[in-house]
Amino acid sequence: MSSFLKYHENSSVGVDEATIKDNVTYYKIKVKVGSVNWHVMHRYNDFVELHDKLVSDHGVGKELLPPKKVIRNKTPKFVEQRREALNVYLKEVLNYLKLSMPYEFAHFLDFHKYDIFFLLTDLAKTLYLEGDNLLENAKSYKFTPLELHAISERLKMACPPTEKQDQTYDFSHVLDFCSQLRSLDVEGSYEKYGTSNIILNELQFDFIPFKSLVNLRILGVPMRCIQSVGSLRDTLVNLSVLTATVISLNEFLLVDILHKEPSSIADTVKWKKLAMINFGNNNIENVDWAIKLVPRLQHLSLSSNKLKELCDISSLHELRILDLSMNSFSLCEKWHAKIGNVVKIELSQNKVESLRGFSRLYSLESLNLGCNVITDVEEVQHICKLPCLEYLWLTANPVASIIDYRVKVIEQFNSRMSEICLDNERASEKELDTARVLQALRVVKEGKIPTFLDNHTSHSFNKS
């Protein structure tokens, strides 16, 4: 983004063209600071207003501005003349005021939208007046990558002497706010920002000023923009990094660590309080070892990624909820060895064929397998002994279209069949009756003794 303080020697303005909108002539002013440029539209009256201030407060010559004209001021010839005159005017004024860059002139040229320093003076005032209020009502606050970039850069700059002596505009109010903020939203974009050639997702920033952040939500910002997470490792509880083309979790978790080798990672990079991670809608193919840097993780959400298999994450003792919907899981082998005491698994919209891998997840209460490719109703045998399972989704699987699907599934849960909530619905009395008949038939067919008794004992044992 623009830094006029740095590049004022390499900056220019010019009035390129005039356009007529709703019978009013607007002049398009092109501003260039270093490699950044943007444009801003003003009518002649705006120039007059600016000029008056510049004359009275900043010693700009009164005769500099081309004069007013009341009649016939819309002929193409006149407009072209005036455009040229305003072009000369702006160039002269900029030349004259380059060093002091008064607030009014900066605002006229939209510096407060695109320039580090002027953007922050305005932000400082907003936060001075509103900051405490915003912090008090505890809603999450949205900073643009542009603002975050400006803050990060500003901290590395000497603070310039300006004509704005008012302390309301002091940068400390921005940092004060950042250091207390608890919930932050950042939203990136690949579009050009405003009328400028600035692209938000090319700006780098860091989280160093945020000392008390608990919730962070990053939407559509590539990880290469983030230079440092500051003290987030000590404070952050909820993290969402959505639609950010992330390939691997450690892109964020180790974003500021140069050597991402497991052996060289110190304990200090652990995320001490982080309990919820949501990396929805990215390109993650593997849950890598970096997840071990989040020992307090309770809720992991990796919906809409490219996962095929899980790695061993059993070291996450507190993990309870696992959302893996909209991925490419098919086998799910031996998940009891990979995940610990997970209570809820979301696997809808995957390619799961078999339930074998879930047979020993004894803490599981809820399993969503909607929209998968399970065909055989006997697959339920693998999970019918899970003592805590209560919610099961098999809807939109091939199996769900067979005759008496619900009864055939419920029946397999034996004495617990009335507790099961299949596809959001508990078994009706009628279904339970049919299920009991089916069960009796199964006993006859398989020559087994009804299993109520041992089922009952093992059940109460597991519950306790």
């Binding site: 509103e130 008090e136 700059m157 002596q165």
Partner: protein, 213 residues
């Protein structure tokens, strides 16, 4: 007004200065978080911290700028002196060189702040008495000669850290009471809290005056 962290009547701006490695960031951290940071990284440019304290029944928010001690950042740090109400000048009692540089820090401070800025001298690392290189008496004399307030403190144990920040605030508050410090002067480093929360942002220029009275 509600109680809690957003209830205060003044904002005081502080700056912490001194040679590299004397413990400026640790003092700030000890004061704001009541914790000692064992391996504190070098400060790049400036750091920032706040805390609300109470002086004579008035809640005051301290906005503290912690500067980099390294010489190459001197241009950056110099620009932060302006408008500081309090300057904490730190040296390390176990390293005489950091003490010897005080006069140059003091010159900078006097030149770049205003006459009412309260300057407080802190001899840090008082827990390392065995390795002491500067005596208390010597530093005390330097402080007296230059009209500075002075304590020896330890960012590690927390000893005298509160005191240094609080005494500075008390002195500033006194200056306000005496009328020696003009709240409306831009460079005073003291501000009223914005008058009423929810005041419209686009306040006309006349109400830009941030004094509540």
């Amino acid at each position: 007004m509600t109680s809690g962290p957003y209830n205060y009547s003044y904002i005081f701006k502080y700056i912490i200065i001194g040679d590299m490695g004397v413990g400026k960031s640790c003092l700030l951290h000890q004061f704001t978080d009541k914790k000692f940071m064992a391996d504190c990284p070098h400060t790049i440019g400036v750091e920032f911290g706040t805390r609300i304290i109470e002086v004579a029944g008035q809640k005051i928010k301290l906005q503290i700028w912690d500067t980099a001690g390294q010489e190459r950042f001197r241009a950056v740090t110099r620009s932060y002196y302006r408008g500081a109400a309090g300057a904490l000048m730190v040296y390390d009692i176990t390293r005489r060189s950091t003490y010897n540089h005080l006069s140059s820090w003091l010159t900078d401070t006097r030149n770049l702040t205003n006459p009412s800025t309260v300057i407080f001298l802190i001899g840090n690392k008082s827990d390392l008495d065995a390795q002491r290189d500067v005596t208390y008496e010597e530093a005390k004399q330097f402080a007296d000669e230059n009209g500075l307030m002075f304590v020896e403190a330890s960012a590690k144990t927390g000893q005298n850290v509160e005191e240094a920040f609080l005494e500075t605030a008390k002195k500033i508050y006194q200056s306000i009471q005496d009328g020696r410090l003009d709240l409306n002067a831009a460079e005073s480093g003291v501000q009223h809290k914005p008058a009423s929360p929810g005041r419209p942002l686009a306040a006309p220029p006349s109400s830009r005056d941030n004094c509540a009275c």
